[in-house]
Amino acid sequence: METIAPLFGDLTHAAMERRAGKLGEDSIEEQISAAKELPASAARDTLAALLRPAANPASCCSALQSLMASDEHKAAEFIVDQLCGEVPSSAWRNQLVLFAEVAQTSDETLRRRLKQRLLEITASLQESAEAEVRPVVCSAIRTYASLISPSEVETLTRFLDPPRPVETRLVTLQSIVHFYEAHPPQDASVPGALADRIAELAQKFLDRDWLVAGEKAAIGQSAAHALAAMGDARVAECVERVLSLGMPWVVRQLARKLESTLRIWQFKGVEDSDPPAQRICAQLRRLIQAPAGNPS
């Protein structure tokens, strides 16, 4: 696989300048100021020229950034067309996936095409042995989860499988939490298979025998948080398990996450009397009232 490392050239330049006392003056100016003054058609022409077979990938990225700054819809259209077509290299495909997360479009047709393609790309990249693909896979999952509707959320279940070899469980659990924070759950809308898998992960990863700070503990906590955000009654078992660990940091962090979800729901007009909010409130009380560090 081609490496994406050379494509970070502009950022390196910008960050180095910042360390020297500037926030990447030249490169930021190139990316934003010049782009905003450039007619959209000119940016597209530049991009088309750069996408010739011999084009430099870093230049393509720079041109696409210019297009995003001058005409976001056209940029989104371009990204989707590129991703859905025959992509000339894996490095360019990876960059397009990253760009897709930054791009915004309300065009339903583009959104539908994009989410379908992201699902396919993620499923395929999950099996890549290249360490460099993980940020790309994570980005694809985040973007995909932000585009889907409640009827499609079950499609995330496959990304909760054990690594193949790319680890996708943490980012998927976080995406599920974000999904349900934006779409407060109704009992009928929560897919059973997805909830069952999350409950299984919570049980396994909140195990005192091998729970250590880092990614695995984050998976356990995020699984408990996801169950709460889905309005699943099994969050009570997760809280029981968390309390029995006797680890105050796990208790504190889960409480903070539940509080955050409740705040978001309240902002969206969810009543405290709604069952999912009630469940979170009840578990939050247990976490807050637990003597710090003492097993329940």
Binding site: F8, D10, L11, T12, A14, A15, M16, E17, R18, R19, G21, K22, L23, G24, E25, S27, I28, E29, Q31, S33, K36, C61, L98, F99, E101, V102, Q104, S106, A131, E132, R134, P135, V136, C138, S139, R142, T143, A145, S146, S149, L170, V171, Q174, S175, H178, E181, A182, H183, V212, A213, G214, A217, A218, M247, P248, W249, R252, Q253, R256, G293
Partner: protein, 232 residues
Amino acid sequence: MPGGRLEAEATTLRRFSVVAEYAEPDDRCFVRHVALLRDDCRLQCGSDVEVWHVCPPVVAGERTGRAAPRDLQQCCAHAVGFLDDLTLDELAGIAITLAEIDDQTQPLDSPLKQYVVHPPVEWVTDCVTGTKRFRRFSCVGFVHECYDAGAGIRLLNLSEDMPQVDLTTLGAAYGEPVHRERIREQLGIVGKPPWSLVLPGYLMHSLSRSSTEIRKVPHVPSSVGEAAFPLH
């Protein structure tokens, strides 16, 4: 008082101590950047050290670290702040938060996709569904989030109005480009100066209080003079 300006003689520090980099290594002590010390180490003033931070890019763990060149995983340490009684429990919490940020970071090679000045932590959401995608941070926002979400220690009261920052001070912290309105807008700084913004030095003043006070009361900077640490 824990922390202060580092000396020529090396000091032993614990991981997740907050290191500050000055805009210029002079007596003004204007803090331009803050970061979390990656490992226990011995540090002297002006030494480069490996950190978790938002340079940009975000460097918060294995994934984001792999994407960043080695020299961007470091900062130059001029001053340091820490809680001398940070518990193993709190250290573990910060490690979890770093792991979460590591997976939530958008790795595109544009500093402005990962970086924001105001607010210091910002979620980027989908324009139709409102579902969160990724977070942007300032260097202060990153360190603040690690202590707040990770250890339950709120170093600054971000809901309070911060001291007003003029363009000269903003330029000292973020460089010449912020003199351009379009760049400021990209960083979340809108309208005419002065602005109520969080500066890196404020975090160091929060950490220069007693541990009891740090844990009890988030710091509210009294003036923009706290952009320098230590004060003269």
